[in-house]
């Protein structure tokens, strides 16, 4: 029973650690499925984290923080769209520009506004997303095995966590069961065919890029206003890049994204707990080895040694109508 509770604890923290990854991963999924590669996920989340923390601090409302986070992320998504879709600029370069620009701007403004080396003052009370206890968590918690799982792992998270997990079935439905989803997938594989059918390629791609911005906004807000209680410069710490790795792992599919992000969250959670622990038969595993594992696994997968990850055919290529 004790080890079961320990396992639940690890699952609980993996769930929390997986949330920003899941948001960014699904965000990247919309964008790349529509043919726009986005390595600026990191920057959008960081921008959203900053905007949400400052707004929540000023207004005392976590909800308004979420709105502001999403808004800033959407604006960054429009910059990405303008450069990549309208101007047909290099998508990688644009992503890097957004990452670097946001990293600088948030640290600079945080420093000027709050004078604490770039971090924002702590958020308290309703300025943070508090944990939601799902109905009957206490009552059902008494049921053996499943009860504690419900009470520990499923219940007791902040609102953005549930938004992120709801986004998985929603994304699946939008992509595979709606006309818009079909067109999004088509425009990422063969934009010329979509164009021939009389549908605007730029408009579709813009809509995908905005969906990407929306999700990054939720992910960034979660990091600053729920997971932590303030904004810290560079607080996304590469999450946007692990999300890209998870996206490859998921082979650009929503349900796969869920599992990949949970797996990477689990690795993160175990890395924290395994610090200085000696495993029987293996000895002490360096924490760095576990931290590097998501990246290593992604490279192996990309290399096609295990399974094969094939990106959408037209991703990364600007669409030129007149040929």
């Amino acid at each position: 029973m004790e080890s079961y509770l320990l396992a639940l604890g690890i699952l609980d923290s993996s769930t929390r650690l997986a949330v920003p990854l899941l948001c960014a991963c699904l965000a990247g999924l919309y964008s790349e499925r529509a043919g726009v590669v986005d390595i600026g996920l990191e920057g959008k989340m960081l921008g959203a984290a900053f905007a949400s923390a400052t707004t929540a601090l000023a207004t005392g409302s976590a909800m308004l923080g979420l709105m502001a986070g999403i808004l800033v992320s959407l604006v960054l998504a429009l910059v990405h769209g303008f450069a990549c879709i309208t101007q047909r600029g290099n998508q990688i370069v644009t992503g890097i520009a957004i990452n670097v620009l946001v990293a600088g701007l948030t640290a600079l403004l945080g420093h000027v506004w709050y004078n604490q080396g770039g971090r924002t003052p702590s958020l308290e009370g309703d300025a943070r997303f508090n944990e939601i206890t799902l109905p009957l968590a206490d009552t059902l918690g008494a049921i053996p095995i499943l009860g504690p799982f419900y009470a520990e792992v499923i219940s007791g998270h902040a609102l953005p966590v549930y938004l992120a997990f709801l986004a998985v079935p929603l994304t699946w439905y939008l992509l595979y069961r709606t006309r818009w989803g079909l067109r999004i997938r088509a425009v990422g594989e063969n934009p010329a065919a979509v164009d021939t059918a009389g549908i605007s390629v730029p408009r579709l791609r813009y809509s995908a890029v905005l969906a990407c911005g929306l999700l990054c906004g939720i992910g960034g807000t979660y990091m600053a206003v729920a997971q932590a209680a303030s904004f810290l410069p560079h607080m996304t710490a590469g999450k946007g890049f692990i999300a890209l790795a998870a996206l490859i792992f998921a082979k650009w599919r929503p349900v796969g994204a869920l599992w990949a992000c949970l797996l990477f969250g689990l690795l993160d959670a175990t890395a924290i707990r395994l610090q200085g622990v000696t495993l029987p038969g293996i000895g002490e595993v360096p924490v760095q080895a576990i931290q590097a594992l998501p990246y290593l696994l992604t490279v192996i997968l990309l290399a096609g040694f295990v399974g094969r990850a094939i990106p959408p055919k037209a991703s990364g290529i600007p669409y030129v109508k007149e040929r």
């Binding site: 990293a103 600088g104 600079l108 730029p202 890209l244 360096p286 590097a292 290593l296 490279v299 990309l302």
Partner: protein, 366 residues
Amino acid sequence: MSTAPVSLPRWADVVLLPALNVGLAFLASGLVVLAIGESPFEATALLLRGALGHAEGLGFTLYYTTNFIFTGLAVAVAFHAGLFNIGGEGQAMLGGIGAAIAALALGALPGIIALPMAILAAALFGAAWAAIPGWLQAKRGSHVVITTIMFNFIASALLVYLLVDVFRPTGMMEPSSRVFAAGGKLPFLHDIAASLGIKLPKSPLNLSFVLALVSALAVWVLIYRSRLGYAIRTVGANPTAARYAGISPERITILAMAISGALAGMMAVNEILGVQHRLLLAFTAGYGFVGIAVALMGRGHPLGIIFAALLFGVLYQGGTELAFDKPNISRDMIVVIQGLVILFAGALEFMLKPSLARLLARKGGA
């Protein structure tokens, strides 16, 4: 929106358009400074004075420039082959590991023997770390952008592990290696000048600056005057045509990545062998990413890269001094400028092209 291909006269394409783009980036930076309640003109004056106004500042400026020449060249060589190497950061870390191993092992020998070996080790380690993504791209089709990002994180984990568990002398708290013996230290330029009887103020500027300039010349010869460089540019322009011309794009991809990684790895020569004289955490400090802005601004040409690197050297050194005088304008401002340069000179490179072409055509027609 409908952009029929427009063409510009060569001078406008090579000089005017990039200058306008960089101008836009600085204009936007000025607006940011204005927005935080400072004067952009005063800030620029302070920045320039801090970077170029005195000998010590100039030494620091050229020391930063050295890093940016290496990382800028690294990005540019890959660019010419049509590859985007954003793993400069990781390759520099590996370069540092290589340089440190050599300097720790051979430091007791005279510098004339130990230093070339250490520089070679830095280049080889960096090259190997970039050649793997190159090989994966060429043979397995894994996109080099993603793999180099992943390799950055793997390199950083590796560096932390080595520093904490292997290189750190027992009893030391800070994760860093021991200081190299005399043979593993590149001479400072103020020391060289002093031995010639010239007195220069102390600065981290060292012999690797000369190495950086030589590397720029070597890259120019490689790209524009050698058979391999021609093959690299051909593969970058059109891999299919290259194959018909008997060039193997796979081989060129791996080679170009290796050369690119070697250059990024040599950044560690400046930081590790030249200044710190020991291996430590986070010595790459984002310089690998600055290389992207430098290469874009310099348009992939070694001469352009030297000037762009100098500009970023001025920004880094001047920005540090500016942060002293104007605490509101922290060093993060430099990162903002860097982002804006990448945005306007890279991502929005052709935004002004159609209107510029119209403007020039009207002038020409009248």
